[in-house]
């Protein structure tokens, strides 16, 4: 876990502050207060979907804070032949890269370890079949979409896990998968076989065995696909309400802390990460859970933390959804204004 080194005295000072009554934090926040979260989608025009999320960035000069860039790119994969690594119905692959600028005190090996850990947590959670979007298939048994989600952590002031899950959700929300249409190649019927089919002298018009253009049944022997509209960005990813949010509960028993800063993270050895998915308000599900650091919890404590974590995650999820809809509106508005001014 990335942390600046912190003295024992400072550690105990922070912990004492959190266990006091009322609890005290260095920046004056309450235990369950988040720093300001700012989000912008569509920051990488070359990607199919992208977002930039920052927590706790100074509004005056843009310094500090935890900042994450996320971008989704889709590519076509072969399923069976030519050594293709595709899977029926498409697949999702996530990668997290930590910029050395975000962790200036870490050596490159430690940085690699950290980014591997974060990649694993994110990938294992998001690539699970319960969250799999249904519109990543192209041609059954032949081609499918591979959805690559890449995240870059540009700065870390604590609470990186929450930030990467929120940024991932935002980028996936913003993603548009190009619409495809299957194509079947048919050899032209010429020569003796054609004349036999016509039959008779030749003055009679006989219906040939051709497929009508109005036949909308699935072409089962499609061999390739095409993009019906090159300039169309595509359709949104299926099930984009399902993508989970992560809530990190930093544990100082009996209290717990949300959105810890770097020094708070260094002073608190044990954290619990819970990933909640809210497909509908009534049926939240836990998509993953991780306990990081050294420490122990009783099962009763764990149950309480899950309950309270769900409430926090619910709030984060609803504000995130509001902001994402807002961003969609803002970008469509801008596009419409530009078009109107032409």
């Amino acid at each position: 876990m990335a942390s600046t080194s912190i003295s024992k005295a400072e550690k105990s000072y922070i912990q004492a502050g959190l266990l006091a009554d009322p609890p005290l934090r260095a920046d004056g926040r309450a235990l369950s207060d988040f720093r300001t979260v700012s989000l912008e989608t569509g920051i990488a025009p070359l990607a199919n979907g992208s977002a930039r999320l920052s927590i706790g960035k100074n509004p005056h000069d843009g310094s500090g804070g935890t900042e994450v860039l996320a971008a989704v790119k889709v590519e076509v994969e072969n399923i069976d032949y030519a050594g293709g690594s595709g899977v029926e119905g498409g697949r999702v692959a996530c990668t997290v890269t930590c910029s050395p600028a975000a962790y200036p005190h870490l050596r490159s090996e430690a940085l690699d370890d950290l980014q591997y850990d974060m990649t694993t947590v994110l990938h294992e959670t998001l690539s699970h079949s319960s969250l799999h979007p249904q519109n990543l298939a192209i041609l059954r048994g032949k081609k499918s979409w591979l959805l690559n989600l890449d995240l870059v952590i540009l700065a870390d002031s604590g609470n990186a896990y929450d930030a990467i899950f929120m940024a991932a959700k935002a980028a996936l929300w913003d993603t548009k998968v190009p619409r495809t249409r299957s194509v079947e190649y048919k050899a032209k019927k010429t020569g003796p076989t054609a004349s036999v089919a016509v039959g008779g002298g030749g003055s009679m018009d006989v219906d040939e065995d051709t497929v009508s253009g109005f036949d909308t049944r699935q072409i089962t022997h499609a061999t390739d696909f095409e993009l019906p509209d090159y300039w169309d960005e595509g359709e949104v990813l299926d099930g984009r309400h399902r993508w989970p949010v992560c809530i990190t509960l930093n544990l100082v028993p009996p209290a717990h802390l949300l959105d810890a800063t770097t020094s708070e993270e260094a002073a608190i050895p044990l954290r619990l990460l819970i990933m909640f998915s809210f497909e509908s308000k009534e049926s939240p599900s836990i998509q993953g859970m991780r306990m990081l650091g050294s420490g122990e919890l009783t099962t009763a404590q764990l149950a309480d933390l899950i309950k309270v974590g769900e409430k926090y995650a619910q709030e984060i999820n609803s504000s995130l959804n509001v902001k994402l809809k807002d961003e969609d509106l803002r970008r469509n508005q801008k596009a419409r204004e530009r078009f109107a001014q032409r």
């Binding site: 000069d61 500090g64 900042e67 990668t95 050395p100 600028a101 700065a155 090159y230």
Partner: protein, 237 residues
């Protein structure tokens, strides 16, 4: 999907609508990024690079210190989503290491490292978007980030790419043009008009080289003006 694009058409326009010697629009953002001592984001058209500078500070590894000057450490990361096709490049990629070494050798004579013996200056380059002129953007952003960090330098370092399409020289090439046309990247120090770095990976006729070289040097001075304009509000404060 598009029909064959002309690098330079009869009207004198390039594929992105620019004239022969026209540079792409330069956008410079010097706001602070994270906890860096100095940072800069430069955008040349569609190429966007973020550079963060840390230092001079105590070296992470004692073995990397030099007794009489500062050690400059350059690390380059190229985002997988920076190009049209997604390509994941690991940190140890030879191309990237060469890139970083080029940037380091460009700045080693320029930064006054003798003022900070046994310390380290870290330059972290993050490529966000690529559309040609990558080395140019990285060098320009590094200059600005070093200035933003207050690290003393002998002069600015301004980089520009130049290329030749049949006999017509062009400046500030996009990715399309770079793939098609012999091109050279030069870095110039504007006060003395001395060249700090030249790289060329394509073949160019010797007679064409001098012309494009001079043009690129002049273009470097134009980039210098843009940089000065970007940092002057800071000086006024």
């Amino acid at each position: 999907m598009a029909s064959r694009l002309e690098i330079l058409n009869e009207g004198g326009f390039r594929s992105d609508g620019r004239r022969q010697y026209e540079l792409r629009g330069i956008d410079i953002d010097l706001s602070q990024q994270g906890h860096a001592d100095g940072s800069a984001i430069i955008t040349h058209g569609l190429t966007q690079v973020l550079v963060s500078v840390f230092g001079p500070r105590e070296a992470k590894m004692r073995s990397h210190t030099i007794h009489d000057r500062a050690n400059i450490n350059v690390e380059v990361a190229i985002a997988a989503f920076s190009t049209g096709d997604r390509r994941k490049r690991s940190r140890g990629d030879k191309r990237i290491l060469e890139f970083a070494a080029t940037i380091k050798s460009t700045f080693e004579p320029v930064v006054q490292t003798n003022l900070y013996p046994r310390s380290q200056i870290d330059i972290f380059v993050q490529v966000l978007q690529q559309d040609g002129g990558l080395l140019q953007a990285c060098i320009n952003a590094t200059t600005l980030a070093l200035i933003n960090a207050g690290i003393p330098m002998v002069d600015f370092v301004c980089a520009v790419t130049g290329g030749v399409h049949s006999t017509f020289p062009m400046l500030d090439l996009t990715l399309l043009e770079e793939n098609d046309v012999p091109n050279v990247t030069i870095a110039v120090m504007p006060k003395t008009q001395r060249i700090s770095m030249v790289t060329m990976e394509t073949r160019l006729h010797v007679e064409r080289f001098e012309e494009v070289f001079r043009l690129a040097t002049d273009a470097g001075l134009v980039v210098h003006q843009e940089m000065k304009r970007a940092i002057s509000p800071i000086e006024e404060q």
